[in-house]
């Protein structure tokens, strides 16, 4: 089974980007060689790793973060001061259901969202790692298997409200979520959206596992493909791609 170890950003200036995300999430940050690491002092949130690495331009990032904040409006102003940029605030409604979030960019233009869903705790945290993909339930099922996480049940009442509002059948499979057991975070959210297919991804996920080789075999059976195995000084890791082509690393 995979355990999420880092969310890794490819950066041209790791120190600057670590400062931005460290301040945004109230994480502590520290240099690690040429890279920077930002960690949650509460010991809850996923660690962020900032590597100096090549990345391709994207229009729609294949993977982005949704950050939950207590007060979205106030946070928007704070993030602008930290060096982020606004894309837009979007509200969408379907029948009686409505939701609002603000799309922003970090100093290296990586898109992310801030949102204040009901019952948000009084601190900032990464609510979702969101994948843009063609078939959310299919890609979601792969990751559910890889992580051993259950799928989040969609309230039948909710689907019923969507149907009542005249929603296209296809939209009912446009969202899919899995989450760690015991209300853990972040969720993995899969949304149907055309994504960029960059040669070098700006963001990817790093996982650890007990037995790397056995795990890779298991993931390949589930639809992943191996890119290469790299031997570092202290660690050997394998780069894979999920069934949709999103790269990830397993050590």
């Amino acid at each position: 089974m995979l355990q999420l170890l880092n969310i890794t950003f490819s950066c041209s200036d790791p120190g600057r980007l670590a400062e931005f995300w460290g301040t945004l999430l109230d994480y502590e940050r520290a240099p690690a060689g040429d890279s920077w690491i930002a960690t949650d002092p509460r010991g809850e949130g996923t660690r962020l790793l900032f590597n100096r690495m090549e990345k391709s331009e994207t229009i729609e990032v294949p993977i982005h973060l949704d950050v939950n904040v207590p007060d979205r409006e106030a946070e928007l102003q704070r993030i602008l001061k930290l060096g982020g940029q606004l894309v837009e605030t979007t509200s969408h409604s379907i029948g009686e259901l409505a939701e609002t979030w603000t799309v922003m960019r970090d100093p290296e233009r990586n898109g992310f969202c801030i949102q204040s869903p009901p019952n948000t705790p009084p601190h900032r945290y990464i609510g979702n790692v969101t994948f843009s993909c063609a078939e959310p339930p299919q890609l979601g099922a792969f990751w559910a298997k890889a992580l051993g996480w259950p799928e989040e049940e969609i309230d039948e009442n909710f689907s019923q409200q969507l149907r009542k509002a005249g929603v296209d059948e296809r939209e009912l499979s446009a969202l899919y979520a899995i989450r760690p057991p015991n209300e853990g975070r972040p969720r993995f959210l899969f949304q149907r959206r055309e994504k960029s297919r960059p040669a070098s991804y700006p963001i990817h996920l790093d996982f650890r596992t007990e037995d790397r080789e056995a795990e890779i075999e298991r993931l390949e059976c589930a639809g992943a493909s191996v890119v290469e195995t790299k031997k570092g000084v202290n660690v050997t890791f394998t780069v894979l791609r999920d069934p949709d082509g999103n790269p990830f690393c397993v050590r």
């Binding site: 229009i59 940029q85 894309v87 605030t89 296209d168």
Partner: protein, 250 residues
């Protein structure tokens, strides 16, 4: 220069899609061989052509129509009755600027938008919208092709965006090309990742006085020729614009 003749839909069931769009826009429809044509009885808005043709599945359609209606909420309910379906209603807000759009699908799944702009008397096609990587260069190509004036976005709007904290690339993320007489439809370009289907569900057909000379002019401007087809009454050339969107010149 090019004159827009039709917006052409590739359909499984041309009659059904023609019926939907004609009812939506108050157009008249008529069969034409295996195809259907829908025309504006006011002779103001662009004609629609529905061909029985293969099309690929898309997630984000490369070209879609923005329909202006007097009352967006009322229209949403009416479109559902005509056999359309809802994706979502979206409101955008950037500083003090805001906009609301309802995204829907026609009976064959083609996405389109409904917008309720003030002073709209009846439903009409307001924009032909291109999802693209580089709105400005693509917009300039089409302004050249149509011989419409190139127009930059109003500086006061850009300043409002900057004041709200918007940076690049959003400031270059959209572009608008309008006919000189203010006629419809407008061509709107926005930066958005799009599907790259083998067979486009929607494409544009144009007429030119001298097809061959026109094609040479367009190729110099960045278009590429796919093929020339000889029909019974008509010879036309399929081209692609600089971002790969197919269109026909007859």
């Amino acid at each position: 220069m090019l004159r827009l003749q039709h917006v052409t839909f590739s359909c499984e069931d041309p009659a059904r899609v023609a019926e939907f769009w004609a009812a939506l826009l108050g157009y008249e429809r008529a069969p034409a061989g295996a195809s259907w044509i829908a025309t504006d009885p006011h002779e103001e808005d662009v004609r629609l052509l529905f061909n029985k043709m293969a099309k690929s599945e898309t997630i984000d359609v490369p070209i879609h129509l923005d329909i202006n209606v007097p009352d967006r909420e009322a229209e949403l309910a009416r479109v559902l009755q005509l056999g359309g379906s809802l994706v979502e209603t979206k409101s955008y807000e950037i500083g003090e600027l805001s906009d609301t759009t309802t995204i829907m699908r026609d009976p064959e799944g083609n996405g389109f938008c409904l917008e309720g702009l003030p002073n709209t008397k009846r439903a009409h096609i307001w924009n032909i919208t291109f999802a693209c990587a580089e709105p400005r260069p693509l917009g300039r190509f089409w302004a050249f092709a149509l011989d419409w004036p190139g127009e930059d976005i109003d500086e006061s709007i850009l300043q409002k965006f900057r004041d709200a904290g918007v940076g690049e690339p959003e400031l270059s993320g959209f572009h608008l090309v309008k006919a000189p007489n203010g006629g419809r439809p407008r061509f709107y370009f926005h930066r958005r990742e799009k599907s790259r289907p083998e067979s486009y569900p929607i494409h544009l057909d144009f007429a030119a006085d001298d097809r061959e000379a026109e094609i040479e002019r367009l190729v110099q401007a960045g278009a590429s020729v796919v093929e020339t087809k000889q029909g019974t009454n008509l010879t036309f050339t399929v081209l692609r614009d600089p971002e790969g969107n197919p269109f026909c010149v007859g």
